[in-house]
């Protein structure tokens, strides 16, 4: 082994180089402050390694980006690595800021180290751009909304802006090419640029550092000179271990965030990352033509001013220079902090924004949950939430139903209307819901027919008659049985149970429901809604499509619109086939008729086939016709 190393050393002379690095001394001795540079370097390396590993799974296209990132997250190691990659980038930016502060305060940028300063300073915006290109790669709503605005800020640059934006987006709009371009920048071009600049920086640092004994000797003649290795190195490594320990702890615990797949349908108010918040706040004060002052001129001016610092510094008198530098740092930090605070404060005090964020977080959680439990659609993760009854149901209900119907529990929690004019649909089709129709107070109350044309209709009168003719408690017991039988029609109760059987014979027999209603092969349509398959997904789909059809309310229908009556032009219906399907599934809480149909067919061949419309993705749009 030793012989091999000797052989290598004879050819590479590596021991001399390492010794030079080790025997360096810092002019003021080893210090904790000086650990920032080394930590930055190692963090950068960690970013590169974790990034490289993540690259082995990531797939940049609109249909697969989110899915592939989510796939990474599903293995514990992948989730951890992505977390480290994510949180290290934030740590890198914080640390970089501190590093700059230290360099300015100590005046370490002075001749002959101007290039150390300038290359280092240029690395800062490059690293910011690096994170900007990384955030949207998962094609999550947050990332895509951010890059959309950032791209448009870029496009607002005078003259070259639109051209740059075209290169970045790979066209006018965000799409597949945007992701491949961002990926190219993030893992190809920017690492090369940062790497090149970093090497130059390192070269300058070492060339002008105090490893030459002469330089250090006359600066600190009184102190014993301690070598970099191990006196500074041990401090560096302690800091690094603390840092990486914190980052990995956070990553292990929470992983990196992944918001819902990008979908313009989702409610979202994009905000930049925390390190750009100050610009976001600043631009509020520049409207119209002056806007690019905030987005372009101010950052560029700051960068230029800082780059010139080594030269401006010479103009200051040496008596106050340390104070001046301190003032510059404090002023910048205070300005940055104040603007950042203002921006966050505004959002935190905006209940609308908070509500939209809470809602969005809920959707993101749901999307991840669906991605775990369902197969990923070929068209991409965006389809997950679009086809999820639990997500779409409440929205469709709010948009189409809630101007008349409520959906509230016994304590009035849920969707309420100022003036409900139709039954409360909470728990529709279940035995508890149905049994309310058989109670004189309830049927004419606000949760059932109270605010409709049927509040004193034949149904109520029939119930009244039954109560007059029968023993009250026995009748109530029978009603409960009937409710169970009807609930079994939709699959809320077990169809074959003895109770349901009894209920079915009561419907056609003693309670005379089939005098008005049809129930399987008894009774006839035309005077009251069909009880066959009552409140099943198929039944509700029919009812909502056209409540005035003979099977439901016919011409006695009270104000309920037909939501999908036009089968010739389904695209113009109030509800598309897909929307109707999602709404009904959410209303009933039933997965669909398939299980039910199966069990019913086995035991009761007389059942009508439970045909329910297949969900179609989008209604077919026909060509324009009949324009005058």
């Amino acid at each position: 082994m030793c012989a091999l190393l000797n052989w290598l050393d004879q050819r590479l002379d590596y021991r001399r180089h390492i010794a030079l690095l080790r025997r360096r001394v810092l002019p003021n001795g080893p210090s904790w402050w000086s650990t920032s540079a080394s930590c930055l370097m190692w963090l950068l390396l960690i970013e590169c390694i974790t990034g490289l590993l993540l690259m082995s799974t990531y797939s940049p296209s609109m249909a697969s980006a989110w899915a592939s990132v989510n796939f990474t997250d599903q293995s514990a190691a992948g989730r951890f690595l992505r977390g480290v990659h994510h949180y290290s980038s934030h740590a890198l930016i914080i640390l970089f800021g501190l590093h700059l502060v230290r360099v300015v305060i100590t005046g370490a940028y002075r001749a002959p180290r101007e290039l150390v300063w300038i290359t280092g300073l240029l690395l800062f915006p490059l690293i910011l751009v690096w994170t900007v290109t990384g955030n949207p790669l998962a094609s999550s709503q947050k990332g895509i909304a951010q890059i959309q605005v950032e791209g448009n800020i870029l496009a607002a640059t005078p003259f070259v802006g639109p051209w740059f934006q075209r290169i970045l987006f790979g066209g006018r709009d965000i799409g597949n090419l945007t992701l491949t371009r961002l990926h190219f920048l993030h893992v190809g071009l920017l690492p090369l640029l940062v790497g090149g600049l970093f090497l130059l920086h390192l070269h300058q640092v070492i060339k002008h550092s105090s490893y030459r004994p002469g330089v250090a000797a006359d600066q600190a003649p009184l102190k014993p000179l301690l070598h970099y290795w191990p006196y500074q190195s041990v401090r560096n490594m302690t800091m690094l271990v603390l840092l990486v320990g914190t980052i990995s702890g956070i990553s292990w615990q929470w992983g990196a965030p992944l918001s819902a797949p990008a979908d313009p349908e989702l409610p979202f108010s994009p905000r930049p990352e925390w390190y750009f918040r100050w610009l976001f706040e600043l631009r509020r004060h520049f409207t119209g033509d002056t806007e690019f002052v905030a987005t372009m001129v101010v950052p560029a001016a700051f960068l230029a001013a800082f780059m010139l610092l080594p030269f401006l510094d010479r103009l200051l008198s040496t008596r106050f220079d340390r104070l001046c530098r301190l003032l510059v740092v404090v002023a910048c930090a205070a300005g940055w902090g104040w603007l950042t605070y203002l921006s966050f404060d505004r959002d935190w005090n905006d209940p609308e924004y908070i509500a939209s964020m809470v809602e969005f977080e809920r959707l993101s959680e749901r999307a991840r949950e669906l991605a775990r439990s369902e197969a990923m659609p070929v068209a991409g993760a965006v389809e997950l939430l679009r086809h999820d009854p639990q997500t779409q149901g409440p929205r469709l209900f709010a948009r189409h139903c809630s101007s008349c119907h409520t959906m509230t529990d016994a304590d009035d929690n849920g969707m309420t209307v100022a003036e409900s004019s139709a039954p409360n649909l909470r728990g529709i089709g279940t035995a508890t819901w149905i049994v309310g129709f058989f109670d004189l107070d309830q049927i004419s109350g606000k949760n059932y027919f109270g605010n409709t044309a049927f509040h004193d209709g034949e149904m109520k009168q029939h119930i009244q008659t039954l109560f007059a003719e029968n023993d009250r408690s026995a009748l109530q017991e029978q009603f409960r049985t009937v409710a169970v039988a009807l609930a079994a029609e939709a699959g809320h109760e077990v169809y074959e149970s003895a109770e349901a059987q009894r209920g079915r014979s009561l419907i056609v027999g003693k309670l005379r429901c089939t005098d008005c209603h049809q129930f399987h092969n008894q009774g006839s349509l035309g005077s009251a809604p069909d009880l066959t398959g009552y409140a099943s997904t198929e039944w509700l789909t029919g009812l909502i499509s056209n409540p005035s059809s003979r099977r439901f309310y016919g011409d006695r229908n009270d104000r309920m619109p037909a939501f999908a009556a036009d089968s010739a032009h389904p695209e113009f219906n109030l509800l598309s086939t897909l929307e109707l399907d999602l709404l009904v599934k959410w209303l009933t809480g039933l997965p669909g008729d398939s299980n039910l149909a199966h069990s019913q067919k086995a035991n009761n061949p007389a059942q009508p086939p439970a045909s329910h419309p297949q969900p179609h993705e989008v209604a077919v749009k026909t060509e324009l016709q009949a324009t005058p």
Partner: protein, 188 residues
């Protein structure tokens, strides 16, 4: 020029040529025109029955069409969204009963939302507010000046009667406009 100089210049020239052979196509490749992602929709598209539109409450309708995204092309995709505002029938007889606006904010392109009160629009990104007629307004809460460079982009919209079944249809011509400019410039 002596022989030595000539050879130096020759070497530099050849190096530049090689760089140009690779570099120019590279730049051309990155900035080259990519087919636009949405086919420009120039025709009126039928969106809604007039009777289905509530009066005075804005409704957002997605417009479907053929969408091209680099190598992928798919039909029946949302290529844009329009806000429709139906006015009471008593409004000026000369004007269309329905107004249509592109939902894209003229500022930076976020999706404009309806205000909670339904009495206007607001963009969630930088809080540009607009009236029901699409006109720019100051922020309803803080009275700050709007970030929007112009009013919402109104779209050509007409109501046509279908003689076959007596339905009145709302038809809209979807167009996209340049962002950030004071004038409406149709995106080419």
């Amino acid at each position: 020029m002596n022989r030595r100089e000539l050879l130096q210049w020759l070497s530099r020239g050849m190096a530049t040529t090689v760089a140009a052979i690779i570099g120019l196509p590279g730049i051309r490749y990155l900035s080259g025109s990519v087919p636009s992602s949405a086919e420009p929709v120039s025709d009126y598209q039928r969106l809604k029955r007039l009777e289905d539109l509530p009066i005075g409450r804005p409704v957002m309708i997605p417009v479907l069409g053929c969408k091209r995204d680099a190598w992928a092309q798919s039909d029946q995709q949302v290529v844009g969204r329009v806000w429709l505002v139906r006015r009471p029938a008593t409004a000026n007889a000369g004007e269309s009963e329905v107004q249509a606006f592109n939902s894209v904010c003229p500022h930076m392109g976020c999706q404009i939302q309806a205000q909670a009160s339904n009495q206007g629009f607001v963009c969630p990104c930088h809080r540009a507010a607009f009236g029901l007629n699409g006109q720019r307004q100051n922020d309803p809460v803080s009275q700050e000046i709007s970030h929007a460079p112009r009013d919402m982009d109104s779209l050509a919209c007409r109501v046509v009667q279908d003689p076959a079944n007596g339905n009145a249809w709302v038809e809209v011509q979807l167009q996209a406009f340049e962002l950030g400019s004071k004038q409406r410039i149709v995106r080419s």
